[in-house]
């Protein structure tokens, strides 16, 4: 995947002092969206998609992404999403071509050579597809996300990520999941360390945590039937806290205050809302989720925003669309975007 470096030279400092000097501060994102707004957006969008036989759905998806970006605020400013429906349409067409070719090869192999060969082909394709699509989708979404006008970007390469992903996936498979924590850490490290805001990268180091994660994971799974699943919720909250504690940007560190109790209550209320309203409260639940995520996340340290310069990279939507079509749920952007 080629990346054009469209960085512009840093302009000379303005004549008058205009921004406060970087200080130690605590920032926390907040979500300003309302369930009623999302309800309107979702149903109007669904209706228009229906009567246009799906054509409007691309604009609908862009509208939803816009909404979540624009209503998430950090340090006084909102995020922005600059993807377009046309990009999604082109990406979908390309993705359909890719899928058609894959299906063609699969069928061809099955008839011409042997069904077993075709099945192996399918397995290989799927094994490769997850990391490829993950990177492609991340690259596209990050490239279209900005804050204070500065774009995010993903600087990793698919080939490098596949080298991290495939062995990890394989070992996790043959160890029945025991290798899972190492797989999770190595892939998360790659993804986050290659995520950039402007010209500055994020940083995540999960080394040393894997053993404890495996231990706690096993305990939580064993206790699951006795605690009606609560042990799993507690474990999830612990993982969130530990993982964010080791994530940083520049000289500021992230922190998550998610607790098992808070997470459990959150899920409980979500569940009740959905049941009582027969699913109609879905927009309110999504808003609650975003709010919960933002409320429990913070970034603390010295952040010199003036020193972060624009360094946008290009990215096509093809792999993002392929991920959507295969419903791979690859969006683990950790930024709630």
């Amino acid at each position: 995947m080629t990346s054009e470096n469209t960085a512009v030279p840093l302009s000379p400092a303005p004549a008058a002092p205009v921004a406060p000097r970087a200080q130690h501060a605590l920032y926390s994102p907040s979500f300003h969206g309302e369930g009623s707004q999302l309800f309107g957006l979702m149903f109007i969008g669904a209706f228009l998609s229906a009567i246009t036989l799906g054509i409007y759905s691309f604009w609908f998806r862009v509208k939803l992404r816009n909404y979540f970006h624009q209503n998430t605020e950090f340090a006084g400013d909102r995020f922005a999403y600059s993807g377009t429906a046309v990009e999604l349409i082109i990406g979908t067409v390309k993705a359909m071509v890719v899928l058609a070719v894959a299906v063609g090869v699969y069928l061809g192999l099955g008839y011409a050579i042997h069904p077993a060969v075709a099945t192996i082909f399918l397995l290989v394709v799927f094994a490769l597809l997850t990391p490829v699509v993950t990177i492609g989708a991340m690259r596209y979404r990050l490239a279209r996300t900005s804050w204070r006008g500065i774009r995010f970007s993903f600087r990793g390469r698919v080939s490098d990520y596949v080298k991290v992903f495939l062995p990890g996936w394989f070992f996790t498979l043959i160890t029945g999941g025991l290798y899972g924590p190492w797989f999770y850490m190595r892939t998360r490290e790659y993804r986050l360390n290659h995520t950039y805001f402007g010209n500055k990268p994020l940083h995540f180091d999960g080394r040393g945590l894997e053993g404890e994660m495996l231990f706690k994971g096993i305990i939580a799974s064993l206790l699951w039937p006795f605690t009606l699943g609560l042990s799993l919720v507690w474990n999830m909250a612990w993982i969130q806290r530990e993982v964010w504690r080791r994530t940083s940007f520049q000289s500021a560190g992230f922190q998550s205050t998610v607790t098992g109790g808070a997470l459990f209550k959150h899920y409980l209320v979500n569940g009740l809302l959905l049941v009582v309203t027969l699913g109609l409260a879905f927009p309110w639940v999504r808003v609650r989720n975003q709010r919960f995520f933002c409320e429990h996340l913070s970034l603390e340290g010295v952040l010199d925003f003036d020193a972060i310069i624009q360094d946008a990279q290009s990215a096509p939507a093809t792999l993002d669309e392929l991920g959507e079509m295969l419903d791979l749920g690859v969006l683990d952007l950790d930024l709630g975007l």
Partner: protein, 364 residues
Amino acid sequence: MHLAPSSFRGHYFDGKSAARLEVDIEPRREGLHFRVSAGAEHLWSWPEVRQVQGFVEGEPVRLEKGGELPEALVVGDPGFAHALRHAAGAHTHRFKLPSSNQSLLQKGAFAAVGLVLAAAGLYLWGIPWISATAAQKVPVEWESALGAKVVENLSEDLADCEDPELKSTVTTVLERLSTTTGSPYTFNVRVLDDGTVNALAAPGGHLVLFRGLLEKMETPEELAGILAHEVRHVTLRHTSQAMLRELSMAIGISALTGGMDISQIAGAARMLGSLQMSREAESQADLEGLELMLQAGFRGEAMIAAFGALGGGEELSWLSTHPDTRARREALTLALAGRTPAATPPALPGAEAWKAMVARCRVE
């Protein structure tokens, strides 16, 4: 915060760094005029400005100027949108006031109702009509090939009943029925050695009978009743229709939900729906099957008796693929109303011989 009636405090971003500058912005006739605190004055003319945020309540207005990596102005004051539109002259239509939460909620509710009506219309009329029309156009060879595959899949782990007398009896009945219909399909039947009480009609004329069902039939004539029903499923192309229906609904639902993940609810709705339509198809196969029986020379009472043997009583018709057998028998009895066969039936073994050959089917 207003500093002068038409001046607003906001922020400026130059698109080159993440630095945020405080500015005073004044919408004027010629454009957007703003001054970086104690610094240079800028003017953005209206054609250059576009609004990208500020469409819902509480969202600050964000204006951009430039191409891919634009400069931006952000103002949180809710009065700014009004001032913008007031000053923009010919360009007013490009700047929007935010929609209130209440209006979004209302519009959403209307859209939801519209959606339900559209979906209901499509489901009740659109899709059935499309699938029925399309099903009639599918070439017989395609149906036949598909049907053969379906049967192959179904019978993978099961053995066939090999008893020659049984096979010849079943084939005789089927041949009489299929020649009476005069349809283009080449019918064939397999009898599987399994206790399931069921019979299936795959597209293209490939029928499958289970031993369990044969055991419930007192005479070959009763079997004719079941076969007539299945033959009608084939000539009326019910299974092809049902498959096309499933396909169009799957496409429709994913177009509708474009992003929303309620696929599980949709999946359940679809299952119930396709069962509902199968009930109509079953009724049609019943009544036309009865006609076929009479034309082929079999007694209609045999069909009714066959259904009686199969019915397990009052089933919950909601959740089963067949309307409860009692209602079906009643409908058939009404339709039969004392009519007699229109031809002489083929020579068939009697009840005892039939029972014996069914028992011989079992592969030890």
